[in-house]
Protein backbone atom coordinates (compact mmCIF):
# COMPACT_ATOMS: atom_id res chain seq x y z
CA UNK A 1 0.00 0.00 0.00
CA UNK A 2 1.31 3.40 -0.91
CA UNK A 3 1.26 5.76 2.00
CA UNK A 4 -0.36 9.06 1.27
CA UNK A 5 0.09 12.33 3.01
CA UNK A 6 -3.00 14.24 4.00
CA UNK A 7 -4.06 17.17 1.92
CA UNK A 8 -4.81 19.33 4.90
CA UNK A 9 -2.21 18.94 7.57
CA UNK A 10 -3.09 20.29 10.99
CA UNK A 11 -0.27 21.26 13.28
CA UNK A 12 -1.54 20.86 16.82
CA UNK A 13 1.28 22.85 18.36
CA UNK A 14 -0.56 25.63 20.18
CA UNK A 15 2.43 27.95 19.85
CA UNK A 16 2.96 27.43 16.15
CA UNK A 17 1.27 30.57 14.90
CA UNK A 18 3.09 32.68 17.45
CA UNK A 19 6.43 31.21 16.44
CA UNK A 20 5.73 31.64 12.75
CA UNK A 21 4.78 35.26 13.39
CA UNK A 22 1.22 34.90 12.20
CA UNK A 23 -0.45 35.58 15.51
CA UNK A 24 -1.74 39.13 15.62
CA UNK A 25 -1.08 40.87 18.89
CA UNK A 26 -3.96 42.19 20.93
CA UNK A 27 -4.42 45.91 20.51
CA UNK A 28 -5.68 46.57 24.03
CA UNK A 29 -8.91 48.25 24.97
CA UNK A 30 -9.82 51.43 23.18
CA UNK A 31 -10.53 53.59 26.18
CA UNK A 32 -7.82 52.25 28.41
CA UNK A 33 -5.25 54.78 29.51
CA UNK A 34 -2.23 52.58 28.87
CA UNK A 35 -3.45 50.68 25.92
CA UNK A 36 -0.05 49.30 24.96
CA UNK A 37 0.18 47.44 28.26
CA UNK A 38 -2.11 44.79 26.86
CA UNK A 39 -0.54 44.34 23.49
CA UNK A 40 1.91 41.52 23.89
CA UNK A 41 2.20 37.81 23.36
CA UNK A 42 4.58 37.32 26.23
CA UNK A 43 5.31 39.96 28.79
CA UNK A 44 7.94 39.79 31.45
CA UNK A 45 7.41 41.42 34.81
CA UNK A 46 9.06 41.66 38.19
CA UNK A 47 6.86 41.35 41.24
CA UNK A 48 8.38 43.22 44.14
CA UNK A 49 6.82 41.60 47.16
CA UNK A 50 7.38 42.34 50.82
CA UNK A 51 9.86 39.51 51.30
CA UNK A 52 10.51 38.13 47.84
CA UNK A 53 11.35 39.07 44.29
CA UNK A 54 9.59 37.14 41.57
CA UNK A 55 10.08 37.35 37.84
CA UNK A 56 7.34 36.09 35.55
CA UNK A 57 6.59 35.47 31.95
CA UNK A 58 2.92 36.04 31.24
CA UNK A 59 1.27 34.81 28.09
CA UNK A 60 -1.63 36.87 26.80
CA UNK A 61 -3.98 33.91 26.93
CA UNK A 62 -2.49 31.28 29.21
CA UNK A 63 -1.33 33.61 31.97
CA UNK A 64 1.81 32.87 33.93
CA UNK A 65 3.98 30.44 32.01
CA UNK A 66 7.39 30.64 33.59
CA UNK A 67 8.46 32.16 36.84
CA UNK A 68 11.64 32.48 38.83
CA UNK A 69 11.46 33.54 42.41
CA UNK A 70 13.57 33.88 45.51
CA UNK A 71 11.05 31.51 47.07
CA UNK A 72 12.97 28.72 45.36
CA UNK A 73 15.59 27.52 47.77
CA UNK A 74 18.15 26.83 45.06
CA UNK A 75 18.14 30.54 44.21
CA UNK A 76 17.74 31.88 47.72
CA UNK A 77 20.63 29.75 49.03
CA UNK A 78 23.09 31.61 46.86
CA UNK A 79 21.81 35.10 47.66
CA UNK A 80 22.60 37.43 50.50
CA UNK A 81 19.10 38.85 50.72
CA UNK A 82 15.85 37.87 49.05
CA UNK A 83 14.73 41.42 48.53
CA UNK A 84 17.74 43.43 47.50
CA UNK A 85 18.69 44.65 44.06
CA UNK A 86 21.04 41.81 43.36
CA UNK A 87 18.18 39.40 44.10
CA UNK A 88 16.15 41.12 41.38
CA UNK A 89 19.11 40.90 39.03
CA UNK A 90 19.71 37.22 39.65
CA UNK A 91 16.03 36.42 39.33
CA UNK A 92 16.21 38.09 35.94
CA UNK A 93 19.14 35.94 34.91
CA UNK A 94 17.41 32.73 35.93
CA UNK A 95 14.20 33.77 34.25
CA UNK A 96 15.95 34.60 30.99
CA UNK A 97 17.67 31.23 30.97
CA UNK A 98 14.40 29.44 31.56
CA UNK A 99 12.74 31.39 28.77
CA UNK A 100 15.41 30.48 26.29
CA UNK A 101 15.21 26.87 27.39
CA UNK A 102 11.49 26.96 26.66
CA UNK A 103 11.79 28.49 23.23
CA UNK A 104 10.67 31.96 24.28
CA UNK A 105 13.03 34.51 22.81
CA UNK A 106 10.88 37.62 22.75
CA UNK A 107 8.90 39.25 25.49
CA UNK A 108 7.58 42.73 26.10
CA UNK A 109 8.54 44.45 29.34
CA UNK A 110 5.59 44.48 31.71
CA UNK A 111 6.39 47.89 33.17
CA UNK A 112 6.45 51.34 31.64
CA UNK A 113 9.72 52.99 30.79
CA UNK A 114 9.34 55.51 33.59
CA UNK A 115 8.65 52.80 36.15
CA UNK A 116 11.75 50.92 35.06
CA UNK A 117 13.93 54.00 35.21
CA UNK A 118 12.59 54.93 38.60
CA UNK A 119 13.39 51.62 40.26
CA UNK A 120 16.85 50.11 40.61
CA UNK A 121 15.33 46.68 40.98
CA UNK A 122 13.42 46.92 37.74
CA UNK A 123 16.37 48.42 35.89
CA UNK A 124 18.69 45.63 36.96
CA UNK A 125 16.10 42.96 36.35
CA UNK A 126 15.49 44.02 32.76
CA UNK A 127 19.16 44.57 32.14
CA UNK A 128 19.90 41.03 33.31
CA UNK A 129 17.23 39.66 31.00
CA UNK A 130 18.76 41.49 28.09
CA UNK A 131 22.28 40.38 28.92
CA UNK A 132 21.23 36.76 29.12
CA UNK A 133 19.79 36.93 25.64
CA UNK A 134 16.08 37.63 25.96
CA UNK A 135 14.89 40.29 23.53
CA UNK A 136 12.63 42.80 25.22
CA UNK A 137 10.70 43.54 22.06
CA UNK A 138 8.37 41.42 20.01
CA UNK A 139 8.63 41.29 16.24
CA UNK A 140 5.63 42.61 14.36
CA UNK A 141 3.41 39.88 13.03
CA UNK A 142 3.11 39.10 9.35
CA UNK A 143 -0.01 40.75 8.03
CA UNK A 144 -2.58 38.85 6.08
CA UNK A 145 -2.09 40.20 2.59
CA UNK A 146 -1.59 39.10 -0.97
CA UNK A 147 2.00 38.22 -0.19
CA UNK A 148 0.94 35.53 2.27
CA UNK A 149 -2.40 34.51 0.85
CA UNK A 150 -3.19 34.50 -2.86
CA UNK A 151 -6.89 34.89 -2.26
CA UNK A 152 -6.37 38.21 -0.55
CA UNK A 153 -6.51 40.23 -3.75
CA UNK A 154 -6.99 43.68 -2.32
CA UNK A 155 -5.15 46.16 -0.21
CA UNK A 156 -6.56 47.03 3.16
CA UNK A 157 -7.68 50.59 3.27
CA UNK A 158 -8.99 52.56 6.22
CA UNK A 159 -12.63 53.52 6.01
CA UNK A 160 -12.79 57.02 7.35
CA UNK A 161 -15.98 58.33 8.90
CA UNK A 162 -17.96 60.75 6.80
CA UNK A 163 -19.53 64.00 7.93
CA UNK A 164 -22.80 62.16 8.28
CA UNK A 165 -21.27 59.72 10.82
CA UNK A 166 -19.82 62.45 12.97
CA UNK A 167 -22.81 64.80 13.04
CA UNK A 168 -23.01 64.67 16.80
CA UNK A 169 -19.42 65.77 17.16
CA UNK A 170 -19.89 68.92 15.14
Amino acid sequence: MVSRFVKEFINRNPRNNELMGRQAVNTGYQFEKERASRSYIYKVELIEGKSHREGRIVHYKDGIVISASTKESSIANQLYSKTDTSAALNVGRVLALRCLQSGIHFAMPGATKEAIEKSQHQTNFFKALKDEGLTLQEPAHIEHSYETDKSFTWKNYPLKPTRQDKLDEL
Binding site: S3, R4, F5, V6, E8, F9, N11, R12, N13, P14, R15, N16, N17, L19, M20, R22, H59, D62, I64, V65, I66, S67, A68, E72, S73, S74, I75, N77, Q78, L79, Y80, S81, D84, T85, S86, L89, N90, R93, V94, L97, R98, L100, Q101, S102, G103, I104, N124, S145, Y146, E147, D149, K150, S151, F152, T153, W154, K155, Y157, L159, T162
Partner: protein, 412 residues
Protein backbone atom coordinates in the same frame (compact mmCIF):
# COMPACT_ATOMS: atom_id res chain seq x y z
CA UNK B 1 -67.09 63.25 -4.05
CA UNK B 2 -68.82 66.53 -4.25
CA UNK B 3 -72.54 67.11 -4.88
CA UNK B 4 -71.78 68.62 -8.27
CA UNK B 5 -69.90 65.54 -9.39
CA UNK B 6 -72.73 63.34 -8.09
CA UNK B 7 -75.22 65.35 -10.06
CA UNK B 8 -73.17 65.07 -13.18
CA UNK B 9 -72.80 61.33 -12.95
CA UNK B 10 -76.32 60.27 -11.80
CA UNK B 11 -79.54 61.27 -13.63
CA UNK B 12 -82.06 63.06 -11.51
CA UNK B 13 -84.49 60.13 -11.55
CA UNK B 14 -82.03 57.94 -9.74
CA UNK B 15 -80.55 60.39 -7.36
CA UNK B 16 -81.12 59.81 -3.69
CA UNK B 17 -82.55 62.48 -1.51
CA UNK B 18 -79.43 62.95 0.45
CA UNK B 19 -76.01 62.98 -0.89
CA UNK B 20 -74.52 59.49 -0.32
CA UNK B 21 -71.24 59.32 1.36
CA UNK B 22 -69.04 57.77 -1.19
CA UNK B 23 -65.76 59.20 -0.05
CA UNK B 24 -62.77 56.97 0.22
CA UNK B 25 -62.86 55.45 3.69
CA UNK B 26 -60.06 57.25 5.42
CA UNK B 27 -60.54 56.04 8.98
CA UNK B 28 -59.11 52.52 8.49
CA UNK B 29 -56.20 54.02 6.63
CA UNK B 30 -55.37 56.28 9.52
CA UNK B 31 -55.75 53.38 11.93
CA UNK B 32 -53.42 51.33 9.85
CA UNK B 33 -50.96 54.16 9.84
CA UNK B 34 -51.16 55.42 13.41
CA UNK B 35 -52.51 52.42 15.26
CA UNK B 36 -55.88 51.90 16.94
CA UNK B 37 -55.15 54.63 19.43
CA UNK B 38 -55.53 57.24 16.71
CA UNK B 39 -59.24 57.75 17.34
CA UNK B 40 -59.35 57.21 21.08
CA UNK B 41 -60.70 60.17 22.97
CA UNK B 42 -57.30 60.70 24.46
CA UNK B 43 -54.87 59.30 22.06
CA UNK B 44 -51.84 59.86 24.18
CA UNK B 45 -52.63 57.32 26.87
CA UNK B 46 -53.76 53.75 26.95
CA UNK B 47 -57.44 53.44 27.57
CA UNK B 48 -58.31 52.82 31.13
CA UNK B 49 -60.72 49.94 31.03
CA UNK B 50 -60.76 49.25 34.70
CA UNK B 51 -64.22 48.74 36.11
CA UNK B 52 -65.23 50.81 39.06
CA UNK B 53 -66.06 47.81 41.26
CA UNK B 54 -62.43 46.93 41.39
CA UNK B 55 -61.12 48.53 44.49
CA UNK B 56 -57.68 49.65 43.46
CA UNK B 57 -56.06 49.63 40.15
CA UNK B 58 -52.88 47.56 40.18
CA UNK B 59 -49.85 49.74 39.95
CA UNK B 60 -48.05 49.10 36.74
CA UNK B 61 -44.40 49.98 36.93
CA UNK B 62 -42.30 50.19 33.85
CA UNK B 63 -39.89 47.28 33.45
CA UNK B 64 -36.52 48.57 34.36
CA UNK B 65 -33.17 47.33 33.25
CA UNK B 66 -31.83 46.14 36.57
CA UNK B 67 -28.14 45.59 37.09
CA UNK B 68 -27.55 43.50 40.15
CA UNK B 69 -24.05 44.32 41.32
CA UNK B 70 -23.75 40.85 42.81
CA UNK B 71 -23.67 39.46 39.29
CA UNK B 72 -21.03 41.88 38.13
CA UNK B 73 -18.26 41.58 40.67
CA UNK B 74 -15.97 39.54 38.48
CA UNK B 75 -13.42 41.21 36.29
CA UNK B 76 -13.21 40.47 32.60
CA UNK B 77 -10.14 38.35 33.16
CA UNK B 78 -12.00 36.20 35.66
CA UNK B 79 -14.96 35.86 33.34
CA UNK B 80 -12.80 34.81 30.43
CA UNK B 81 -10.78 32.33 32.44
CA UNK B 82 -11.30 28.69 31.62
CA UNK B 83 -12.79 26.67 34.45
CA UNK B 84 -10.04 24.74 36.10
CA UNK B 85 -10.48 21.03 36.32
CA UNK B 86 -8.47 18.86 38.61
CA UNK B 87 -5.69 17.05 36.82
CA UNK B 88 -4.43 13.63 37.70
CA UNK B 89 -0.83 12.82 38.43
CA UNK B 90 0.04 9.65 36.56
CA UNK B 91 3.69 9.68 37.58
CA UNK B 92 5.67 9.66 40.78
CA UNK B 93 5.40 12.02 43.71
CA UNK B 94 7.45 15.16 43.49
CA UNK B 95 11.01 15.00 44.68
CA UNK B 96 11.83 16.76 47.87
CA UNK B 97 13.54 20.09 47.43
CA UNK B 98 17.18 20.50 48.31
CA UNK B 99 17.85 21.11 51.97
CA UNK B 100 18.55 24.66 52.91
CA UNK B 101 22.24 25.20 53.33
CA UNK B 102 23.48 27.17 56.31
CA UNK B 103 25.92 29.92 55.46
CA UNK B 104 28.82 30.65 57.72
CA UNK B 105 29.47 34.19 59.01
CA UNK B 106 32.40 34.63 56.66
CA UNK B 107 30.31 33.56 53.70
CA UNK B 108 27.61 36.03 54.63
CA UNK B 109 30.05 38.90 54.85
CA UNK B 110 31.46 38.03 51.46
CA UNK B 111 27.96 37.66 50.00
CA UNK B 112 26.95 40.99 51.43
CA UNK B 113 29.97 42.75 49.98
CA UNK B 114 29.32 41.26 46.55
CA UNK B 115 25.65 41.96 46.77
CA UNK B 116 26.18 45.62 47.63
CA UNK B 117 28.52 46.08 44.70
CA UNK B 118 26.11 44.24 42.39
CA UNK B 119 28.73 41.60 41.72
CA UNK B 120 26.82 38.68 43.10
CA UNK B 121 26.07 36.37 40.19
CA UNK B 122 24.53 33.09 41.22
CA UNK B 123 25.35 29.92 39.36
CA UNK B 124 22.28 29.67 37.14
CA UNK B 125 23.17 26.26 35.78
CA UNK B 126 22.77 24.72 39.21
CA UNK B 127 19.24 26.09 39.49
CA UNK B 128 17.06 23.22 38.37
CA UNK B 129 14.09 23.77 36.16
CA UNK B 130 11.04 21.72 36.99
CA UNK B 131 8.33 23.94 35.65
CA UNK B 132 5.25 22.03 34.63
CA UNK B 133 3.33 25.10 33.50
CA UNK B 134 5.51 25.25 30.40
CA UNK B 135 4.43 21.75 29.45
CA UNK B 136 0.83 22.77 29.99
CA UNK B 137 1.41 25.89 27.93
CA UNK B 138 2.60 23.75 25.04
CA UNK B 139 -0.15 21.18 25.72
CA UNK B 140 2.40 18.41 25.74
CA UNK B 141 0.62 16.25 28.29
CA UNK B 142 -2.74 16.83 26.61
CA UNK B 143 -1.53 15.56 23.30
CA UNK B 144 0.49 12.70 24.75
CA UNK B 145 -1.82 11.18 27.32
CA UNK B 146 -5.12 13.02 27.04
CA UNK B 147 -6.58 15.90 28.93
CA UNK B 148 -6.19 16.64 32.64
CA UNK B 149 -3.19 14.42 33.11
CA UNK B 150 0.34 15.30 34.14
CA UNK B 151 3.38 13.88 35.80
CA UNK B 152 6.38 15.28 37.61
CA UNK B 153 9.92 15.19 36.31
CA UNK B 154 11.56 13.01 38.92
CA UNK B 155 14.46 11.52 37.00
CA UNK B 156 17.20 13.50 35.35
CA UNK B 157 17.17 12.92 31.61
CA UNK B 158 19.77 14.60 29.45
CA UNK B 159 19.34 14.46 25.72
CA UNK B 160 22.23 15.97 23.84
CA UNK B 161 22.30 16.63 20.09
CA UNK B 162 25.90 17.64 19.48
CA UNK B 163 25.96 20.12 22.35
CA UNK B 164 22.33 21.12 21.85
CA UNK B 165 20.69 20.02 25.06
CA UNK B 166 16.97 19.44 25.11
CA UNK B 167 15.02 21.31 27.76
CA UNK B 168 11.37 22.22 27.61
CA UNK B 169 10.57 23.49 24.17
CA UNK B 170 13.81 25.04 22.96
CA UNK B 171 14.12 25.33 19.21
CA UNK B 172 16.54 23.16 17.26
CA UNK B 173 17.20 23.07 13.56
CA UNK B 174 16.19 19.86 11.84
CA UNK B 175 19.71 19.52 10.55
CA UNK B 176 21.19 19.19 14.02
CA UNK B 177 18.89 16.26 14.79
CA UNK B 178 19.98 14.07 11.89
CA UNK B 179 22.06 11.79 14.07
CA UNK B 180 20.80 10.12 17.20
CA UNK B 181 21.42 12.08 20.37
CA UNK B 182 23.48 11.11 23.34
CA UNK B 183 21.17 10.27 26.18
CA UNK B 184 22.13 10.01 29.79
CA UNK B 185 19.61 8.78 32.31
CA UNK B 186 19.96 9.22 36.00
CA UNK B 187 20.08 6.06 38.06
CA UNK B 188 17.33 6.15 40.68
CA UNK B 189 16.77 2.51 41.58
CA UNK B 190 20.24 1.40 42.77
CA UNK B 191 20.57 -0.88 39.76
CA UNK B 192 17.03 -2.23 40.03
CA UNK B 193 14.31 -1.49 37.57
CA UNK B 194 14.28 -0.54 33.93
CA UNK B 195 13.85 2.57 31.82
CA UNK B 196 12.08 2.87 28.51
CA UNK B 197 12.80 5.88 26.34
CA UNK B 198 10.32 7.09 23.79
CA UNK B 199 10.85 9.86 21.28
CA UNK B 200 7.59 11.13 19.82
CA UNK B 201 6.69 13.83 17.36
CA UNK B 202 3.38 15.16 18.61
CA UNK B 203 2.63 16.98 15.39
CA UNK B 204 4.16 14.65 12.84
CA UNK B 205 1.18 12.58 11.79
CA UNK B 206 0.42 13.47 8.18
CA UNK B 207 -1.14 10.23 7.04
CA UNK B 208 -4.67 9.74 5.90
CA UNK B 209 -6.91 7.79 8.19
CA UNK B 210 -4.28 7.37 10.87
CA UNK B 211 -4.74 8.48 14.43
CA UNK B 212 -1.86 9.07 16.77
CA UNK B 213 1.64 10.42 17.03
CA UNK B 214 4.80 9.62 15.18
CA UNK B 215 7.31 7.51 17.13
CA UNK B 216 10.84 8.41 16.11
CA UNK B 217 12.78 6.29 18.49
CA UNK B 218 12.02 3.75 21.13
CA UNK B 219 14.50 1.99 23.35
CA UNK B 220 12.99 -0.27 25.95
CA UNK B 221 14.28 -2.23 28.93
CA UNK B 222 17.32 -0.08 29.61
CA UNK B 223 18.66 -1.39 32.91
CA UNK B 224 18.83 1.23 35.62
CA UNK B 225 22.08 3.14 35.60
CA UNK B 226 23.14 1.74 32.23
CA UNK B 227 23.66 3.35 28.87
CA UNK B 228 20.88 3.54 26.28
CA UNK B 229 22.82 1.10 24.09
CA UNK B 230 22.13 -1.63 26.66
CA UNK B 231 18.42 -1.44 25.97
CA UNK B 232 16.43 -3.05 23.22
CA UNK B 233 15.81 -0.76 20.27
CA UNK B 234 12.18 -1.43 19.34
CA UNK B 235 11.99 1.41 16.86
CA UNK B 236 15.10 2.66 15.14
CA UNK B 237 16.06 6.30 15.33
CA UNK B 238 14.62 8.53 12.65
CA UNK B 239 15.21 12.24 12.59
CA UNK B 240 12.20 14.50 13.20
CA UNK B 241 10.37 15.32 9.98
CA UNK B 242 8.68 18.69 10.17
CA UNK B 243 7.22 18.99 6.68
CA UNK B 244 7.71 22.00 4.48
CA UNK B 245 5.37 24.80 5.50
CA UNK B 246 3.93 22.91 8.48
CA UNK B 247 5.65 25.10 11.05
CA UNK B 248 7.17 24.04 14.32
CA UNK B 249 6.67 20.49 15.56
CA UNK B 250 7.02 19.43 19.17
CA UNK B 251 9.22 16.41 19.65
CA UNK B 252 9.13 14.89 23.11
CA UNK B 253 11.40 12.46 24.89
CA UNK B 254 9.42 10.53 27.48
CA UNK B 255 11.04 8.24 30.00
CA UNK B 256 9.06 5.42 31.61
CA UNK B 257 10.04 3.34 34.62
CA UNK B 258 9.12 -0.29 35.06
CA UNK B 259 10.33 -2.96 37.45
CA UNK B 260 10.33 -5.93 35.07
CA UNK B 261 11.46 -6.09 31.45
CA UNK B 262 8.49 -5.77 29.10
CA UNK B 263 8.26 -7.04 25.57
CA UNK B 264 6.70 -4.17 23.65
CA UNK B 265 5.37 -5.16 20.27
CA UNK B 266 5.67 -1.88 18.44
CA UNK B 267 5.98 -1.81 14.72
CA UNK B 268 8.20 0.83 13.22
CA UNK B 269 9.21 -0.53 9.87
CA UNK B 270 7.93 2.31 7.67
CA UNK B 271 7.10 5.90 8.36
CA UNK B 272 3.41 5.13 8.28
CA UNK B 273 3.78 2.21 10.66
CA UNK B 274 5.52 4.42 13.17
CA UNK B 275 2.26 6.15 13.94
CA UNK B 276 0.81 4.97 17.20
CA UNK B 277 -1.49 6.56 19.68
CA UNK B 278 0.65 7.19 22.74
CA UNK B 279 -2.34 7.42 25.05
CA UNK B 280 -3.50 3.99 23.88
CA UNK B 281 0.01 2.62 24.22
CA UNK B 282 0.20 3.95 27.76
CA UNK B 283 -3.27 2.73 28.60
CA UNK B 284 -2.41 -0.82 27.59
CA UNK B 285 0.67 -0.84 29.83
CA UNK B 286 -0.71 1.37 32.55
CA UNK B 287 -0.20 -1.15 35.33
CA UNK B 288 3.50 -1.66 34.75
CA UNK B 289 4.69 1.62 33.21
CA UNK B 290 5.11 4.88 35.07
CA UNK B 291 6.33 8.02 33.31
CA UNK B 292 9.18 9.64 35.19
CA UNK B 293 10.72 12.30 32.97
CA UNK B 294 9.92 14.34 29.93
CA UNK B 295 11.83 16.76 27.74
CA UNK B 296 10.83 18.26 24.45
CA UNK B 297 12.07 20.54 21.72
CA UNK B 298 10.63 22.26 18.69
CA UNK B 299 11.91 22.01 15.19
CA UNK B 300 10.94 23.18 11.74
CA UNK B 301 11.69 22.33 8.14
CA UNK B 302 15.04 22.58 6.46
CA UNK B 303 16.68 20.68 3.62
CA UNK B 304 17.74 17.75 5.78
CA UNK B 305 14.06 16.82 6.09
CA UNK B 306 13.73 16.54 2.34
CA UNK B 307 16.81 14.35 2.09
CA UNK B 308 15.55 12.12 4.87
CA UNK B 309 12.14 11.74 3.24
CA UNK B 310 13.71 10.97 -0.12
CA UNK B 311 15.94 8.34 1.43
CA UNK B 312 12.79 6.73 2.84
CA UNK B 313 11.41 6.61 -0.69
CA UNK B 314 8.83 9.31 -0.05
CA UNK B 315 8.21 12.67 -1.57
CA UNK B 316 8.53 15.71 0.59
CA UNK B 317 5.02 17.18 0.92
CA UNK B 318 4.65 20.93 0.52
CA UNK B 319 2.13 22.57 2.75
CA UNK B 320 0.96 26.12 2.72
CA UNK B 321 -0.76 27.91 5.53
CA UNK B 322 -4.42 28.32 4.84
CA UNK B 323 -5.74 31.54 6.28
CA UNK B 324 -9.26 31.84 7.42
CA UNK B 325 -11.05 33.63 4.59
CA UNK B 326 -10.78 37.34 5.21
CA UNK B 327 -13.94 39.17 6.14
CA UNK B 328 -15.32 41.43 3.49
CA UNK B 329 -18.74 42.97 3.03
CA UNK B 330 -20.96 41.72 0.22
CA UNK B 331 -20.37 43.62 -2.96
CA UNK B 332 -22.99 46.22 -3.72
CA UNK B 333 -23.55 48.46 -6.66
CA UNK B 334 -24.01 51.38 -4.31
CA UNK B 335 -22.15 50.71 -1.06
CA UNK B 336 -23.55 52.43 1.96
CA UNK B 337 -20.42 54.46 2.50
CA UNK B 338 -18.29 55.94 -0.22
CA UNK B 339 -15.39 53.62 -1.03
CA UNK B 340 -12.24 54.06 -3.10
CA UNK B 341 -13.58 52.42 -6.21
CA UNK B 342 -10.40 50.69 -7.39
CA UNK B 343 -9.64 49.08 -4.03
CA UNK B 344 -13.28 48.25 -3.52
CA UNK B 345 -13.43 46.46 -6.83
CA UNK B 346 -10.11 44.74 -6.17
CA UNK B 347 -11.73 43.15 -3.14
CA UNK B 348 -14.11 41.17 -5.32
CA UNK B 349 -11.74 40.12 -8.05
CA UNK B 350 -11.22 36.47 -8.74
CA UNK B 351 -7.87 35.47 -7.17
CA UNK B 352 -7.11 33.31 -10.17
CA UNK B 353 -7.54 36.28 -12.44
CA UNK B 354 -5.16 38.34 -10.34
CA UNK B 355 -2.59 35.59 -10.38
CA UNK B 356 -2.96 35.23 -14.11
CA UNK B 357 -2.40 38.91 -14.55
CA UNK B 358 0.79 38.83 -12.50
CA UNK B 359 2.04 35.79 -14.35
CA UNK B 360 1.35 37.42 -17.69
CA UNK B 361 3.27 40.47 -16.64
CA UNK B 362 6.19 38.28 -15.73
CA UNK B 363 6.01 36.39 -18.97
CA UNK B 364 6.07 39.66 -20.84
CA UNK B 365 9.42 40.30 -19.21
CA UNK B 366 10.51 36.75 -20.20
CA UNK B 367 12.12 36.15 -16.86
CA UNK B 368 9.87 33.69 -15.13
CA UNK B 369 12.11 32.38 -12.42
CA UNK B 370 14.07 35.43 -11.55
CA UNK B 371 12.20 38.63 -12.09
CA UNK B 372 14.10 41.57 -10.81
CA UNK B 373 12.49 44.57 -9.35
CA UNK B 374 13.40 47.59 -11.47
CA UNK B 375 15.64 50.05 -9.76
CA UNK B 376 13.25 52.91 -10.43
CA UNK B 377 9.61 52.06 -10.11
CA UNK B 378 8.41 54.99 -12.20
CA UNK B 379 11.03 56.94 -14.15
CA UNK B 380 8.36 59.07 -15.83
CA UNK B 381 6.88 60.16 -12.56
CA UNK B 382 6.16 63.75 -13.51
CA UNK B 383 4.56 62.82 -16.81
CA UNK B 384 2.50 60.02 -15.30
CA UNK B 385 1.41 62.18 -12.42
CA UNK B 386 -0.13 64.56 -14.88
CA UNK B 387 -1.42 62.01 -17.35
CA UNK B 388 -2.68 59.07 -15.32
CA UNK B 389 -5.61 59.08 -12.96
CA UNK B 390 -4.48 59.12 -9.35
CA UNK B 391 -5.65 55.61 -8.48
CA UNK B 392 -3.90 54.06 -11.46
CA UNK B 393 -0.71 55.91 -10.74
CA UNK B 394 -0.70 54.93 -7.07
CA UNK B 395 -1.25 51.33 -8.14
CA UNK B 396 1.84 51.54 -10.26
CA UNK B 397 3.82 53.00 -7.39
CA UNK B 398 2.69 50.60 -4.69
CA UNK B 399 5.35 48.53 -3.04
CA UNK B 400 3.17 46.39 -0.82
CA UNK B 401 0.64 43.63 -1.44
CA UNK B 402 0.17 42.80 -5.10
CA UNK B 403 2.79 45.33 -6.08
CA UNK B 404 5.37 43.60 -3.95
CA UNK B 405 4.29 40.13 -5.01
CA UNK B 406 4.76 41.12 -8.62
CA UNK B 407 8.48 40.69 -8.16
CA UNK B 408 8.98 38.79 -4.94
CA UNK B 409 6.58 35.85 -4.95
CA UNK B 410 7.71 32.38 -5.83
CA UNK B 411 5.97 30.83 -8.77
CA UNK B 412 5.36 27.28 -7.61
Amino acid sequence: MSAAQYARLVPKKYRSRTLPKIDRPWRPRVIAWAGPAAFYPNRFYEIDKWYKARIDKPEKLPEMHIIDPANHTKSLEELLKKPESESINIGFAKREAAIKSEKSEGDRVELERKSRHMELKIDIDSVDLENLSVYRHFQVFDHLFGENVFFENVQRLEVDYQDNLIYSGNILTAESTVNRPEVSIESVGNGKGFNTLLMVNLDGNAFEGKNGELIHWMVSNIPDGENVAKGKENVEYLQPLPFYGSGYHRVAFVLFRHSQPIDFSINGSTLENRIHSISEFYKSHENVLTPSAIRFFQTSYDNSVKTALHSLGLKSPLYEYEYRPALKPDQREFPEKPQPFDLYLDMYRDPKEVEKEILERRLSEIKLDNVEEPEWIDPDYVENKKKLPAWLHSKQLERKGVGYAKYHNDVL
